[in-house]
């Protein structure tokens, strides 16, 4: 029988946040009578993830991604709903559960600051009771994959952000977790370091068969690593499926990039094209946004009416699609329930 590594059912988390109008009088009043407001962070989210999958969890700031990860790693208790991760209920925080998972946070460090990473790694090996032979093998493998041999004996304090992130990954993986939560692992890193970390995560997943949930604001991370994405917006799951279908489902339009013949460029560029929206106009280049179904007709119209030197039809960049979702501008969908039906 199929046993998912992560199974989430109607998971809901509502924070109760104290509320207080500004001013001293209100501050004093709040000492006696506290008013609170319920802030739903995650609402009725359900999904399952199979062993060995890499899934991207995406959504704007405050959408509920980190809350979801904290629920799945046992740091938070849900308001309602259930979750099973690696055969355990996360928030019971059993030692056998904690041994099977790992959470690496891009903005928090678990390294001991003043001593070389090797010392922190040894402590973690002991805490997770990793047998010495296995510890050495895992460490050697991770260090080789991340090419960080020379960092092992220098104090962490002096490391760059990228070097520190490599250490965080080793620290998080020494006990060979079956489930890995990566929260913004490439935050603040330069492009080449991002690429290397991505390659590492993919390679690690391939070798170890670990299940990975990744959150990131860099779409390149998601494109490179996650065949499947879960989109969360205002705490609700609005899309769960293949990355390739995301654009088609959520942004059912194409981009027509037109380069005009130089002589007539300026004058002709003013022409209105029916069924297309001009979203960029620069030096004789036009970018038109066209509904998917209309693309052939609009292309024909453009070729007929404009002095075209070059024309391409593209899918919109993922960033633009995501931005549209975040802005709530869901062209082609009447409402969110339509979106949910789409998955």
């Amino acid at each position: 029988m199929f046993q998912p590594q992560i199974a989430v059912e109607s998971l809901t988390k509502i924070y109760r946040v104290p509320q207080r109008p500004p001013g001293l009088a209100a501050a004093i009043a709040s000492l006696f009578r506290r008013t609170t407001q319920d802030v739903p962070a995650v609402r009725d989210v359900s999904f399952t993830i199979a062993s060995g999958e890499i899934v991207g969890l995406i959504g704007p700031n405050g959408a509920g991604k980190t809350t979801t990860l904290k629920l799945l790693s046992g740091l938070l208790h849900p308001t309602s709903g259930s979750a099973r991760v690696a055969d355990c209920t996360p928030w019971e925080r059993r030692p056998e559960f904690l041994r099977r998972i790992s959470m690496v946070l891009g903005n928090k460090s678990q390294m001991i600051w003043d001593i070389p990473p090797l010392d922190t790694f040894r402590v973690l090996g002991e805490i997770y009771a990793v047998p010495p032979a296995e510890y050495r093998a895992t460490l050697d493998e991770l260090v080789a994959l991340l090419e960080m041999e020379e960092l092992l004996t220098k104090p962490v304090r002096n490391f760059s952000l990228g070097e520190r992130m490599k250490c965080e990954l080793v620290a998080g993986l020494l006990h060979r977790p079956a489930v890995l939560f990566l929260d913004e692992p490439t935050l603040g890193l330069d492009v080449s370091m991002q690429t290397r970390l991505r390659r590492f995560v993919a390679e690690y997943n391939r070798r170890s068969g670990a299940t990975v949930i990744l959150t990131s604001h860099y779409m390149a991370d998601v494109v490179a690593l996650c065949p499947r994405v879960i989109v969360i917006h205002h705490g609700r799951l609005i899309y769960d499926g293949g990355l390739s279908r995301l654009a088609a489902r959520l942004a059912p339009f194409k981009l027509l990039r037109v380069t005009l013949g130089e002589a007539e460029a300026e004058a002709e560029a003013e022409v209105e094209i029916e069924g297309a929206e001009v979203i960029e106009r620069e030096n004789g280049r036009l970018t038109l946004r066209v509904r998917r179904g209309n693309a052939p007709a609009v292309t024909a119209q453009v070729l007929q009416r404009l002095p075209v030197a070059d024309l391409t039809v593209e899918d919109p960049p993922l960033e633009a699609v995501i931005d549209q979702i975040y802005q709530g501008d869901l062209t082609g969908f009447h409402n969110l329930s339509g979106l949910e039906a789409a998955r």
């Binding site: 924070y15 740091l75 938070l76 904690l98 928090k108 003043d114 805490i127 009771a129």
Partner: protein
């Protein structure tokens, strides 16, 4: 499951060793802290030995005051629970998350820096106290059996001071500036635990208060035992009160920790 969760001594010991390594990088900083902590008793050492002059005050002569305060400096350093000050920061800064993600009770993290700290501080305080002993010629006349009893009382005093401070520090789950209460605790230790004057020398009213509150049992009590200021009956009562307060501190720390963790997992760090 124990009150600490599932035990993990192996991980705890590794943590102690790494904390040592880490703290030894900052020897001079910790030595300065330790120097700061030994200053008040050192000042009162000189005040009381000057007051005694060639005679006696409250039954103690100059050499006995020197002995009392040098031992108090050591006991104060051994029982000072410096981690009480850092627990609140860990809770506020979200550092608790990485403690909670590990298969080890977070108390180990606290105890390991406590233990590592003791070694680093004592590496400074013991030689300094020894040098002062050579210079100031203390007089100590322990009663028979006084030394082992005092050692036992010192260990209990540390546990009491640590867990009493811990439950106060854990109030950081609710209030951002709970460490103000720790400053109050330090002030009460200064006043009622034998630092400003040996407890038997306090005015009667204050002495009665000191005898029943927990603070004397955090520092002064073991020093009074080893310097022979207490009758056997007083020692027995003292141990009973010390153990009772320790039990209270353990129960409070455990309750506050559980309630705090419930709140933490409800609202997040």
């Amino acid at each position: 499951m124990t009150p600490l969760g599932t035990l993990n001594h192996r991980g705890g010991w590794a943590l102690v060793k790494s904390t040592w390594t880490s703290w030894l990088q900052y020897r001079s900083f910790f030595f300065l802290l330790a120097f700061g902590w030994m200053l008040p008793p050192l000042i009162y050492l000189f005040v009381w030995s000057a007051a005694a002059g060639a005679g006696q005050v409250g039954g103690l002569n100059r050499g006995q005051f020197v002995g009392y305060y040098l031992i108090l400096i050591l006991v104060n350093q051994i029982t000072y629970a410096q981690t009480n000050w850092t627990v609140g920061d860990v809770i506020r800064s979200g550092g608790l998350n990485s403690w909670l993600l590990r298969p080890m009770p977070p108390l180990y993290n606290v105890l390991s820096s406590e233990l590592a700290g003791k070694v680093v501080y004592l590496a400074f305080v013991v030689p300094v106290a020894a040098a002062l002993a050579v210079l100031l010629r203390p007089e100590v006349h322990p009663a028979p059996g006084g030394v082992p009893l005092a050692i036992l009382a010192t260990v209990l005093a540390w546990a009491l001071r640590f867990f009493w401070g811990l439950w106060i520090a854990l109030l950081a789950f609710w209030a951002t500036r709970a460490d103000a209460l720790l400053a109050v605790q330090d002030a009460l230790v200064f006043l009622l635990a034998g630092v400003v004057a040996p407890v038997p020398l306090l005015p009667a009213a204050l002495r009665a208060v000191a005898a029943y509150l927990p603070f004397r049992y955090m520092v002064g009590f073991p020093v009074e035992i080893v310097t022979g200021q207490l009758h056997p009956a007083e020692i027995a009562t003292g141990f009973a009160l010390q153990v009772a307060w320790l039990a209270a501190a353990l129960i409070l720390a455990r309750r506050v920790w559980r309630a705090g963790l419930r709140r933490y997992s409800a609202i997040g760090g």
